[in-house]
Subunit: 378 residues, 2 copies
């Protein structure tokens, strides 16, 4: 472990599956696991300010170092007294390394890249990958920027989240074995340099490694072996885990037993409602996804009966909450009829209200999962 | 007076000017005057839900009948139990007649029409004006709709705001004396029919007349004479009052003494910070404007020192509230640095936070005006 404040406590290990209930202790409080992590790229969930968000008890927020480095800049966040102070959030925050965005902006995201069969969408944003790091162009003003393990960790330290993530390369799904291997080796050297940079000036922050190896099981196993022996505080699962849900779960079933059980793990960027029931028995502790907030902004509301499309005509006269037993701000105060009216009238207030409901739904669902594990049902 | 719940009480009449402090009693509580009325076209301020808005104590909200008739429809609002229930607002609401939108969509708004010198922007939306009313096309689906004094008042009764406004025609600024006269006569027949329709089924709702006459003082005077003898509960000042602020104030100085002092008056659609100090001494009781909310969405914040442009580079490191003595939700919780970051990062949360501040500023400013009148300063 790289610091003393960060601690992972396993409350209960299922005997039926790898599912477990845990508590991640951080400088800004506890994260009950398994749990959903909302994406607040620029230091806020889309359309939901952090004080109103605090009524939901979303225990961990995922912020993007790449975005924060470009706007407002890591120095400004540091000057503000760190990210929590800057954005007025009292609860834990995790930042990524920035690597994901650099590469996903180049390839247009994992899903897009898979669809495009490897054709680069915006190749010019990544100018060069060297042993040192990656040179890319800022989407904001075209400036040439160098991102390395050292600059990423230094930026993450200025930002000051509770959990940081090592700098890694995101190799595309469509890649030759040879190129994957070269990327794999470099990524693990970059992660080691990330850890070394962190340990030079240790702080209250924790640092997660990122498990790589693409869709090659031998490489994934080797990645776990390389990283579990280093002083990382936890493990994120990154890179392309598969081109569809089946491939992803086959890989996760293979990878999860290779990870040490006494450290928390995080699945990067997956959190759709179909995947969660399969992730929990695998022992995934936390996972981030912008799906619940993005769905909300498109008028897709989460309910125990499945997705509810707000713009369906029948909703116009449903003078009742989205869900009768939901205790969220939106359900306590507004009816489906009014929410569907706001959507149809293109009123921005709907973005906030729908987002609150979906994030609250995720929090509630994860609480039920934790209870089910404790009861021995999973 | 058309009903018993509605009452206007003059708390203090200045001896220095026509300024007065009053209280409008409505079924949903008191409106202290003079006061600013925020525009919630579709039953919400833009980007601010009504529960969060309720922390600001904005005592009167202006909703647009035209928009509510088209979406979700007056029947749906009635089914919901009326507008307060539908949108979850406990405090008073005023609706206009729908006439303004029909004509302003045709002419593209008063300001646009003045600039365009009378060229119709979207002439096809108003299909025909007859003695009966106006036939127009719905912007939503192209349906032909007939709006008359009777249908407007019936819709406003279904909507159920505390204060309704008579159906009138909005003649363009550029109009011949002859056409203005014809419009003037018809408007006053329409207003009489509005009142008659209201009195057929009187309710807790109040009904304001609209003073017309364009920029012709003799007509304005005649309008006051025609309308003050009828059982209206208050008076709105409508139509083109002038092509600029000077012309408007010259006209208002002329019109205000023609209105009965024992009934409340409302200035339609004017509320920029430069106009308010001139409006108050004239005895204007309420005025609605979308300026404070629109300015907020463009990153223009109101302060006692004048407008503050959020995207000015200096704000990036101002780790302090917009105004130190402001008690609004935004100033209590966030710094200028963070707000300017949200704006630059195009985060929708800024729309909500900036709106809260500007509306709170207006409420605070109007409270200070009332105090100044009571002290004898205005």
């Amino acid at each position: 472990m790289t610091n003393k404040t960060f601690k992972f406590e396993i409350v209960y290990q299922s005997t039926k599956s790898r599912a477990r209930v845990g508590r991640i202790h951080t400088p800004h409080g506890i994260i009950d696991t398994p749990n959903f992590v909302g994406v607040g790229t620029n230091g806020t969930l889309k359309a939901l300010d952090n004080v109103l968000l605090s009524t939901i008890d979303m225990q961990l927020m995922f912020c993007n170092t790449y975005h924060l480095m470009i706007q407002p800049g890591a120095d400004v966040v540091e000057q503000a007294g760190g990210i929590h102070q800057f954005i007025n959030r009292k609860q834990p925050i995790i930042t990524d390394s920035g690597g994901f965005q650099v590469f996903s902006l180049a390839y247009g995201g994992v899903a897009d890249e898979i669809k495009s069969k490897g054709t680069k969408k915006n190749a010019s944003s990544v100018l060069k990958i060297t042993e040192e790091g990656v040179i890319f162009r800022s989407y904001k003003d075209g400036t040439r920027l160098l991102l390395t393990p050292e600059t990423s960790i230094r930026a993450q330290k200025k930002i000051g989240a509770d959990i940081m993530i090592s700098f890694d390369e995101l190799p595309p799904y469509h890649i030759t074995t040879d190129k994957l291997r070269r990327s794999f080796d470099r990524t693990h050297r970059w992660e080691k340099r990330s850890l070394d940079t962190h340990l030079l000036h240790p702080s209250d922050q924790a640092l997660y490694a990122v498990i790589h190896g693409g869709i090659d099981k031998a490489l994934r196993k080797q990645s776990c072996a390389i990283l579990r022996d280093q002083a990382f505080d936890g493990f994120a699962i990154g890179g392309s885990v598969g081109k569809n849900r089946e491939e992803m779960f086959e890989m996760l079933e293979f990878v999860m037993p290779e990870l040490p059980t006494d450290k928390p793990n995080h699945l990067l960027g997956i959190g759709d409602l179909e995947s969660v029931p399969k992730m929990v028995p695998l022992g995934i502790d936390t996972f981030d996804s912008s799906h619940p907030t993005k769905a909300a902004r498109h008028g897709l509301l989460f309910t125990k009966q499945g997705h509810l499309r707000l713009n369906k005509s029948g909703n116009s006269t449903r003078f009742e909450p989205i869900e009768h037993d939901c205790t969220c701000y939106t359900c306590k105060h507004y009816t489906l009829a009014y929410l569907s009216h706001l959507l149809k009238a293109h009123e921005p207030a709907i973005l906030t209200l729908a987002t609150i409901h979906n994030v609250h739904f995720m929090m509630d669902m994860m609480r039920l999962y934790r209870e089910a594990i404790l009861r021995g049902d999973i």
